[in-house]
Amino acid sequence: MNKSRLVRVSVDVGGTFTDLQVFDSRAGAVRAWKTPTTADDPSRGLMAGVAEAAERFGFALADVGLLLHGTTIATNAVLERRLPRGALLTTAGFEDVLEITRHVRRELYQLDPDPFPVLVPRDLRFGVPERMRADGTAELPLDEAAVPALVQRLGEARVEAVAVCLLHAYANPAHERRLKALIAEAMPDVPVSLSSEVSPELREYERSSTTVLNALLMPVVRAYLDRLRSRLGEGGFDPAVFLVQSNGGVCGPAVAAEQPARLLLSGPSGGTLAAARIAGLLGRPNLVAVDMGGTSFDVSVVQDGRVSVVTQGEVDRLPVRLPMVEMRTIGSGGGSVASVDSGGRLTVGPRSAGAHPGPVAYGRGGAEPTVTDANLVLNRLDPEYFLGGAMRLDIEAARQAVAARVGDALGLPVERAAQGILTVTNAALGAAVRLSLFEKGLDPRDFALLSFGGAGGLHATEVAAEMGIGEVVFPREPGTLSAYGILFGDIARDFARSRVLPAEHGSVAEITALLGELRAAAEAALESDGVEAAPRRFEAAADMRYRGQAFELLVPWDGAPCTGEAGLEALVARFHAVHKKRFSYSEPDGAVEIVTLRVKAVGLLPKPDDAPPAPAARPALKGHRRVFDGEGWRDLPIWDRDALAPVDSIEGPAIVEEPFATHFIGAGWTARLGAAGALVARRG
């Protein structure tokens, strides 16, 4: 990468807008730009955005040395089923594992269930005569004589991608590799994904699901990267390109093309990267980050300055066994619909009016009242200043909908009904935050709440109060925070191998050998990503459990030497401690097993130090507005976020407005500007 170039750009392509953040080392500041997303080919909008930003902020395209790119291309392809025709090869006798799934149902009382999605239908799943055992020995060698007929069937079926998931391939990938070689010989243009390369971990259904997603996404992501590459070079624009992965790091295009499943669920990565950076800038190592948009509320946790990562996630009910930023999502957003059932119960969400038709106040045909409508009825939102005035809201329509569909049904005046919608919403948001911390044995009182997303600011102080959290952070540009986080991303590569081993001295040699292999693979990966001289960091971890447990805990080695008997003992001691913390008990004398070993390699990209922009030269206090604050109508002060100076002190209840977000500072809270231009509200 060309470090002599001065500008770094991050781009987060969303459903409606493509968000950009630009850091120009000559100006020392980070600046934001927004441009409409071009859904047919997002790289077009991306280029347009970069060109607009270049003109607006005065840099040449040739000055851009680094382009960090968050994309939903993989996720959307899965959600919209724009996927190529793919085949799955399995151990003979196990062709249906993908369709049988883990078969637990989610809706207990539903009599017309939908099947779990199956991305490769039964006539494109083929069994291969072979069998590995759990210890990596071959019980039945791969029957190579059967392969030509198989390849012929793949050809006749005109498949565009092939996934291979053989039993116990995590323990011994030899059969999978041989199959790949034989297929590549016969069909050199068809991409082949091996489970032992994509997700070499125990549990055949989850591994199959991940491998199939990866295979089907290879043609999709390759085509996108080709289009992107063809646009590079225009006007001297030739930066090093990195793509955002689900693990909170970025990777080069070569990795993205081979392992596109790692781009799935990358959406939350940007926001949590930003949270981690803000945690550092503000000196708050424990942050719970909440991102509230139109349809969902996403909770992630930064603990001791680090983003919490899990080893599995899912997209559209399909498991993805790859490391990803830990996120709890509930269907609660500005567009969530409020309704009253025949028992007189008020519910909010999970049904959402989304962006189309959207809240009643949008005037696009929505008839059911939403959370945004409730905020508007209470005058917390300014109908004249939504999206900085770009969109007029119909407050009267919102009032009528809330009155007719909630107020009348509950016998409440319209303000009380709207307030009720917010109270129910805030309690549900609080419960989601509490559960996210609870699962890790964490106490909300040790955390500050980081609020972002278009709809978060109106709810944050009340959700925090619900939880006993005494500090809320409103970062700059809450609507493009994800792009801000991406701007400070590092290259991160994860490698894993499952092998069930007793965590005892006798296993040290095998553990050391496996870690050595993983470390070598990680080193090589960083080389291929072009991080020759950049500083590197390696982190080892193990998935561990007490013998008999069926679920593992991720235990980081965290600095301790991870070799030798002492290293293993340190790891086991840490496992007992993590177990106790998370589950309230441990069994120091219990037998412990290692199931999976992990190495993460991080290639550190240089971090710019950004300075917050100077406040706009206009009065910070814009005026007052009649707002219903839960008790009654009051004149509340309205503050202009962009004009706030460090001397300003905002006493709640008060409203803070900025072009793409509005924040409500509750009674008893006081807000001031903090580091990095963040607004920090404290209670009491």
Partner: protein
């Protein structure tokens, strides 16, 4: 007396559900055995001070709608409420004290606020083994409950915060996997404290009197929603019957599950007097089990959103004479009670189909395919694998059934092949969908499946508790029944059938056991099935040409 608005009530209801979810997360994360962790065979719930279920985690229907029954039985007959203190945990697994069968150990703890009992929290876990004739405590040939394992009467396992070490030791001495049982039981107890802490926090926040009022109103709202749905069903009496193949002891004698369901206004009465007398073998159900099936059926049939809790039960009355297979008398064996409840649910749906024909699917596979392998290694080491398999769901008036879909009274996950083979001297030699196992119809049933195990240890004992090897899952509205299931022993290349209910069948190295499960019944005349759908079934191999 406080008076709460609908907003406060919904907020408290959500908080109670969140408390059940926190308890659920605790059990899932901390339990030790695969049966809890991978099969997810457990449930958690929050109750009011009288034992009415207020909120529950969404896990297993057969558990959820029975815990309230059990807790009320305990309070009325077995535990003096005045002497049940805040640091006392009562456990029991006794079917004849309001429970279901011995492997299900239930633990309850009261929650106090300002010296007053405010609520209860409870957890139910299916434990991997509680002793008795057969590993896994599923003795298919038991003829009295004493053979089925250790019976724990309602007892304070924790009293004043201290564990009763005598009881603890007594339990662990009588089970095959004491370390796993101890781990799972500890996780149940830890989860109770998590739930209790959550409720105490709520009481501090909203006030105890408000919590009590909210609890009462939450039950009323669910009752109102149920009554509103029932009142849309046409009045009348609807009858249906279905059969268990046998009880495993008196072979070849089918057992009748008969339902006469009467809709009158906004209430439903279910008369089970036409069911067979209690069986000699362990397929009997206690009232707790049968009620769970009756409630679950009606709750599924309601076309109205409701919060599932004890208020839902109020519009429904069950008549079940003592001494029948749905209300067994002590000391009848009950280990395989899930068989009677699955079949009772099938019969309930058959009756409800006549009342709401656009909502009810044809029969699902209708049993838990439970089997246990107890392997004995060269060095004498014993391992127990409990497997619970499933079949297909029934064809629905609006769509096909789903292949291999956990339906009805249970809701289990499967255990990964790779997990089993890493831990137990068994190899899974086949796991797939079973073509032609579903009933044909305008909307066909979902397919059943085939799973085959091979023994790799010198010795192994196999136990099975299954059904529907003779009486197939029915079709509705002209749809055809599904195929029956079967168990096959493959030894030295020879295949022979195994009965659906078998105890401690000795197996040796190299033997294979193959299970074939039923699909779901079909809905509607098969001749009406769309030609494209037929073509697709053939192309995917769900149905073969011969059929």
């Amino acid at each position: 007396m406080p008076s709460l608005g609908p907003i406060e009530i919904e907020v408290i209801r959500n908080a109670l559900t969140a408390a059940a979810a926190e308890m659920d997360a605790t059990v899932w994360r901390t339990s030790r055995s695969t049966i809890v962790r991978e099969l997810l065979d457990y449930s958690t719930a929050v109750f009011d001070a009288d034992g009415n279920n207020l909120a529950q985690s969404a896990r297993i229907p057969s558990h959820l709608n029975s815990m309230s029954h059990l807790l009320r039985e305990l309070l009325e007959r077995h535990v003096d409420p005045a002497r049940w203190g805040p640091e006392d945990v009562v456990v029991t697994n006794d079917p004849y004290c309001g429970g279901q069968h011995l492997p299900d150990i239930v633990a309850f703890k009261p929650v106090f606020h300002d010296g007053e009992r405010l609520a209860f929290v409870g957890t139910l876990c299916h434990h991997i083994d509680v002793g008795g004739l057969a590993a896994g405590s599923y003795a298919a040939k038991a003829i009295e409950i004493f053979q089925e394992g250790l019976r724990i009467p309602p007892v304070k396992l924790i009293e004043d915060g201290r564990r009763n070490e005598g009881v603890w030791a007594m339990i662990l001495q009588n089970v095959r996997k004491p370390d796993l049982l101890a781990g799972d039981l500890q996780s149940q107890i830890a989860s109770l404290e998590v739930g209790a802490a959550a409720l105490r926090r709520l009481a501090g926040r909203y006030g105890a009197a408000e919590m009590v009022e909210a609890g009462a109103r939450i039950l009323d709202m669910s009752e109102a929603a149920m009554r509103s749905a029932i009142s849309r069903m046409p009045d009348g009496t609807y009858e249906f019957e279905d059969f268990l193949d046998d009880d495993g002891v008196d072979l070849g004698e089918p057992i009748r599950l008969h339902v006469a369901l009467t809709v009158a206004g906004d209430a439903i009465a279910v008369d089970l007097s036409g069911c067979s007398p209690q069986a000699r073998g362990p397929v009997n159900a206690t009232l707790a089990s049968s009620n769970a099936a009756v409630m679950f059926a009606v709750m599924c049939a309601c076309d109205e959103p409701f919060a599932p809790n004890a208020g839902c039960y109020r519009p429904i009355r069950t008549v079940a004479p003592e001494g029948t297979v749905v209300n067994a008398r002590h000391p009848a064996p009950v280990a395989h009670r899930i068989a009677a409840t699955h079949r009772l649910l099938n019969a309930m749906f058959g009756a409800l189909h006549q009342a709401v024909p656009d909502r009810i699917p044809a029969a699902y596979y209708g049993n838990s395919y439970v089997c246990t392998f107890q392997t004995v290694a060269e060095d004498g080491r014993r391992d127990v694998l409990v497997e619970i398999e499933i079949g297909g769901s029934g064809g629905h008036p609006a769509k096909d059934g789903v292949n291999a879909f956990a339906s009805g009274m249970h809701n289990n996950s499967n255990i990964p092949v790779e997990m089993i083979e890493s831990q137990t001297p068994l190899t899974i030699t086949r796991y797939g969908l079973l073509p032609d196992s579903a009933g044909a119809g305008r909307h066909r049933g979902g397919l059943g499946l085939v799973r085959e195990w091979r023994v790799d240890s010198p010795e192994c004992f196999f136990t099975a508790n299954m059904d529907r090897f003779v009486h197939a899952p029915y079709g509705l509205a002209g749809g055809l029944p599904a195929a029956v299931g079967r168990l096959v022993l493959v030894r030295d290349g020879q295949e022979s059938g195994l009965p659906s209910k078998a105890d401690n069948v000795p197996l040796r190295k190299g033997d294979r056991v193959r299970l074939e499960t039923s699909g779901g019944g079909g809905f509607g005349d098969p001749a009406m099935r769309a030609a494209e759908a037929v073509e697709r079934d053939l192309a995917l191999g769900y149905v073969t040409r011969g059929r």
